[in-house]
């Protein structure tokens, strides 16, 4: 199992690299050093919260394109092990759709030569549960030398990604999931 996931992530990295650098010679590439993602569901009866530190990502500052991906299995910190099992098996169907990703472009211009905080919109395709959805997501990028600190806060509608909840647990899971992203990317030299 563990090996499987390892291979999957490697493959994903390769794919991401291919997507981004297939036609670029000397792009300014930033790689994800620390990628954290967490989500919470504010249901009337139960607060669900989980986090992962295994987010992968690349930004091409010149082309203003990016790709981020995370393994669904890597989320942890559920209230109970059973909850985690439900999360992976019933809702996310992690064996079928092991990764969630967001790939696209940055709308606003960023001057990466200058340190500062930039609020940008990113537009791209958010893939969760194997269902693609075009999204515009606001993010904050803080540039400090060769490092980019990215944080974003958005919500995902379960309906949008065809994640169905059995009626019996509808009160336990909100139809809207809040997602928080924090990542540090470093320039590839």
């Amino acid at each position: 199992m563990r090996l499987n996931r390892f291979i999957q992530m490697r493959l994903l990295n390769i794919v991401l690299i291919c997507i981004l650098f297939s036609n670029i010679g000397f792009a300014q590439k930033y790689y994800c050093k620390n990628g954290n993602a967490e989500f919470s569901s504010d249901a009337p009866l139960e607060l669900i919260h989980a986090a992962s530190k295994e987010m992968q990502g690349i930004i091409d500052a010149e082309k203003k394109t990016f790709a981020f991906s995370i393994s669904t299995y890597s989320f942890d910190g559920f209230n109970t092990p059973l909850q985690k099992e439900h999360f992976n098996e019933n809702y996310m169907e992690s064996s079928k759709f092991p990764n969630s990703s967001f790939t696209g472009k940055i709308i606003e211009d960023i001057d990466n030569s200058r340190d500062g905080i930039y609020v940008v919109r990113t537009k791209g395709v958010l893939t969760i549960h194997g269902v693609k959805k075009e999204r515009i997501i606001k993010s904050t990028i803080e540039i400090k030398g060769n490092s980019w600190f990215i944080s974003s806060d958005f919500s995902v509608m379960l309906d949008d990604h065809q994640i169905t909840i059995p009626r019996i647990v509808q009160q336990k899971i909100a139809s809207e999931i809040r997602v928080k992203i924090n990542a540090e990317l470093v320039k590839q030299l």
């Binding site: 709308i107 606003e108 211009d109 919109r121 515009i136």
Partner: protein, 958 residues
């Protein structure tokens, strides 16, 4: 004082949004079979027909019904563009393009175009190239057969294009995630220029671009709302009100004079006016919308606005009309009098209250109760004089003078000198104020202050105006003023003289509710008897249509600033342009059901706005927009022959029996489709126009000729400057009236005559010949029969018989005489029947047998039915005679003659035993027979002979 401000502040803060003045919106379902139609866009074609693009087909709306174009049911129609030949180019969500011409849909450049992404827009440029924007594949440019793709690989900033626009100079602009791009510059497809945030664009995501009324462009963005782009200076500017935009993504913008309507993703429509007064306000609608999302909007030729909501098609008569149904906690019940004040506020009387309304730039309103200490005063006439004093005339409760600034007033009733307490109209004339009451007209001098004592007087020499029910006063200029009365007609005062009109069944009628003058100097009267009556300075005339008196009792007439006549009636109101006499009506379609305004309950404010009070609330009408009076469109949509669809155009030539023609047409007047009627004529049949309400007309039994069908639209029965639809066709002459046929016929007839003449000629000749032959034959027969041999033989026979038996001799002589008599009898006859002929033959044989005894044998074998057939007389006898002549007849050589019928022939055969010595005259007999037969029948005589037998077959004649 502070309290007062706090209250006002709170009032503004908590103003209920539904108080806001908004245009009227009405919901339609363009797909009656679907409960949740997904509407993408609304489009008007060059002929004026409105099409609605939905996720499940293209729908045509003719003002009466929504009809899905057949074959389009599966199409997600995302883009529509007018094609040059009155057709439409359609782009779908799947990337296909279609062409719609004459209601038939076909895929456009199916084999060449391979677009897989949704099409977001199509437009033609100046060079006739077609630009197609897609969401995912950039731009396509179609130039004749050549298709060029422009995308990020060819240098375009982005492949995801939201919108495409042809600007007023026919340049092509696109909006994408990378900002605004001008493409195809200087006729070069590949020449483009991009404008993004670094050029001052507030937001790179350009969702929509719209040509601004004043030039330049309005740009709607995903986050930053709306900005203006000046294409000459290439600069962007954002109005102050749009900064800090909080209405989400802008999906579409339409630009009107000094105003834009902004369609948003989640907040319906936001209005921004930037003329003399700046206003920014979200619109509201009473209709329950499934979603507040606006996909697209379209302003039709008449000025109506169509909104493609996410799940609704929404109609609005546009920015010309706004309705205020309530102010804060006060809902209007029956607005009886309206007075726009000089300070921009509106004073009105409603349900016994006098209310002063203040309007704010965001569309919200507040009100103040004036004279709240007076209970239930029904004010029906309001006037503000030069000094600002309000004159409020009531029904039965006298006149109140009000100073709004100081909240003071003076009440005038009969007790303090008011002649009558029912005041219908208050108007200034020269330096006086006149009032119309139920006891006539009175006037008073202008007041210097509200507390000045008021003295009303009758006008000098005005007997005509006294003790009458007076409804309305209308000053025209300083020397002319008109008065409307109940029962006494109208009275004109001009150059010091009074003149009364309308008494005793004359125009404009004895009762008049309202009077107005227009820009051409005509005076108009609202008469419940005659409807709308016009006075041109000399004569009165009823202004058609009759509709004004039947259904729409006119309650008020007023001229707007530009001199158009606004007719306020029970069902709504109409604008009449006096010069062209075209009418535009606003009624139930525009939201004015149960309108029912009170008499003269209207006012025109300093900005030219017309305010009308009604049971529906307070109506604001702006007659001065960029909208010219619309001309209704007319479309001929179907032609039939004998009630079967058959396309007819100017090149069509119909045959003479295709002469039952049905033409269907429809008028386009979306503001009020029920007001449409038609008039048509068929030149070639009649030169008279025929008026009808039908949308089709049939012409049965048309004679051959050239016809021109013309049809026009009438609005409220009134011919506007509308276009005319024309259909020309030719019915051909029948072939029997065509020259080629007539000449052919003549040729045939003459040929026949010639043939007949020839035939007759021939027959005469034949006849002549036959007669000659007959004469010859008679001669021949006679000669034969009386030939000396025959006689000699006969006499020899007779001698021998006499010697033997006397009685037999007598019998023989009798037979001989019979024989000669029969020859004489039949020699003149053409034909005789076979029976008679055989009898003759028997006589002859008897005579011959006396001579030859049993050495001659005659065998007859003839069917009885053949006995009626005909033969030339004596033919058999001649043949038998021939046989006897040619052959030896003796005891050893018997002559046996057989006569039998064989089909149509009679066959005479004998055995041959030729004589050595031929008798004289032989051979003539047979030739004679052949000639006779040639004249009588075409069937020839057949002769066969060998050593033993001689056969001759003669035809039996009918």
């Amino acid at each position: 004082m502070i309290n007062k401000y706090i209250i006002i502040f709170l009032l503004i803060l908590f103003a209920n949004p539904s108080d806001a003045q908004s245009p009227y919106f009405k919901k339609y379902n363009p797909l009656p079979k679907s409960s949740n139609p997904r509407v993408n866009l609304v489009h008007q074609d060059l002929r004026g027909i409105i099409y609605i693009g939905t996720e499940t087909g293209l729908v045509l709306y003719d003002g009466i019904g929504f009809n899905t174009i057949s074959g389009s049911e599966e199409l997600n129609v995302k883009a529509i563009c007018n094609e040059q030949n009155n057709g439409l180019l359609i782009g779908t969500g799947k990337g296909n393009m279609f062409l719609l011409i004459n209601d038939s849909l076909s895929e456009y450049k199916k084999d060449q175009l391979r677009i897989e992404s949704p099409i977001t827009g199509i437009c033609y440029d100046k060079q006739g190239r077609i630009w197609v924007s897609t969401y995912g594949e950039g731009l396509y440019c179609i130039e004749d057969e050549q298709i060029t793709k422009l995308d990020s690989n060819t240098g375009l900033e982005d492949d995801y294009i939201y919108t495409i626009l042809k600007d007023k100079n026919e340049g092509i602009w696109i909006g994408s995630d990378a900002g605004l791009t001008h493409v195809g510059m200087n006729k070069d497809i590949h020449n483009s220029k991009n404008y993004s945030m670094s050029h001052g664009l507030p937001d790179n995501i350009v969702r929509t671009i719209s040509n601004a009324y004043e030039g330049g462009m309005w740009i709607g963005m995903q986050e930053a709302g709306v900005c203006y782009f000046n294409d000459k200076t290439e600069t962007f500017s954002t109005p102050e009100t749009f900064k800090d935009w909080k209405y989400g993504s802008v999906n579409h913008i339409i630009s009107i004079k000094n105003e834009i309507w902004i369609g948003t993703d989640k907040h319906f429509i936001i209005d921004y006016e930037y003329g003399n007064t700046q206003r920014f306000r979200p619109f509201h609608t009473d209709e329950k919308l499934i979603s507040e999302r606006v996909n697209q909007m379209m302003r039709d030729r008449e000025g109506n606005i169509w909104v493609a909501g996410a799940s609704d098609l929404i109609f609005s008569p546009g920015e010309r009309i706004e309705i205020l149904k309530s102010v804060q906690d006060h809902s209007f019940k029956n607005v009886q009098a309206v007075l726009p004040l000089k300070n921009g506020k509106i004073l009105l009387s409603d349900d016994g209250k006098l209310i002063e309304i203040t309007r704010f730039p965001d569309g919200s309103t507040t009100y103040k109760n004036i004279l709240s200490n007076l209970s239930k005063h029904h004010f029906i006439s309001l006037y503000q004089d030069k000094t600002g004093i309000i004159w409020a005339g009531s029904f039965g409760q006298g006149l109140v003078l009000i100073d709004l600034d100081n909240s003071s007033n003076q009440i005038l009733t009969i007790k303090n000198g008011l002649p009558n307490e029912n005041i219908f109209s208050i108007k200034p004339f020269r330096n006086t104020i006149q009032i119309a009451t139920l006891s006539g007209i009175y006037s008073t001098k202008l007041l210097s202050s509200i507390h000045t004592p008021v003295q009303f007087q009758q006008l000098p020499k005005s007997e005509l105006l006294q003790n009458k029910y007076m409804y309305h006063i209308q000053p025209v200029n300083d020397s002319e003023i008109w008065y409307a009365s109940d029962g006494e007609g109208v009275i004109q005062y001009k150059n010091g003289r009074y003149q009364q009109y309308g008494i005793g069944n004359t125009l404009p009628g004895s009762v008049c509710y309202s009077i107005a003058s227009d820009k051409s100097g005509n005076i108009w009267f609202a008469s419940p008897e005659h409807g709308l009556v016009k006075f041109n300075g000399i004569t009165f005339s009823v202004f058609k249509p009759e509709i004004w008196k039947e259904n729409r009792t006119i309650s008020g007439l007023v001229s707007d600033r530009s001199g158009n006549l606004i007719i306020i009636h029970k069902e709504g109101f109409s604008i009449l342009e006096p010069l062209t006499q075209s009418i535009h009506s606003y009624n139930s379609i525009s939201g004015f059901d149960n309108f029912d305004p009170d008499l003269n309950s209207f006012g025109v404010d300093a900005n030219g706005m017309v305010w009308i009070g009604s049971r529906k609330g307070l109506i604001q009408f702006n007659p001065e927009t960029d909208q010219e009076n619309p001309t209704p469109g007319i479309v001929i949509n179907k032609t039939q022959i004998f009630l079967i669809d058959h396309h007819i155009d100017e090149n069509t030539v119909l045959s003479y029996d295709q002469n039952y023609i049905t033409i269907s047409y429809f008028g386009l007047y979306y503001s009020d489709p029920t007001a449409i009627s038609y008039k048509y004529k068929l030149e070639g049949l009649s030169d008279n126009w025929v008026t009808t309400g039908d949308r089709s007309v049939s012409f049965p039994n048309l004679a051959p000729g050239t016809y021109v069908f013309r049809v026009k639209v009438l609005i409220d029965g009134q011919e506007s400057s509308s276009q005319e639809a024309v259909l020309q066709f030719i019915i051909d002459k029948p072939y029997y009236k065509k020259n080629w046929f007539i000449s052919l016929l003549l040729l045939c007839v003459s040929t026949m005559i010639i043939l007949i003449i020839r035939y007759r000629d021939k027959r005469f000749k034949l006849e002549e010949k036959r007669k000659n032959e007959q004469v010859l034959q008679k001669f021949e027969t006679l000669r034969n029969q009386i030939n000396p041999h025959f006689l000699f033989n006969s006499f020899n026979t007779l001698i021998s018989v006499i010697e033997e038996d006397k009685e037999k001799a007598v019998e023989y002589v009798e037979h001989l005489s019979d024989y000669f008599r029969e020859i004489l009898t039949y020699r003149d006859v053409d034909k005789i029947d076979l029976e008679t002929e055989l009898k003759l033959l028997q006589t002859y044989i008897y005579l011959q047998k006396k001579r030859y005894g049993n050495n001659i044998e005659l065998n007859l074998n003839i069917e009885p039915e053949k006995l009626t057939s005909l033969v030339p007389p004596l033919v058999l006898q001649m043949l038998v005679e021939n046989a006897i002549k040619h052959n030896v007849v003796s005891k050893n050589n018997r002559l046996i003659i057989d006569i039998r019928d064989q089909g149509h022939y009679l066959v005479i055969s004998n055995n041959i035993n030729e004589r050595k010595l031929k008798q004289k005259g032989t051979g003539l007999g047979l030739q004679n027979i052949l000639k006779r037969y040639q004249l009588l029948s075409k069937i020839e005589i057949k002769i066969q002979h060998n050593d033993q037998n001689f056969n001759i077959s003669i035809p039996l004649l009918n």
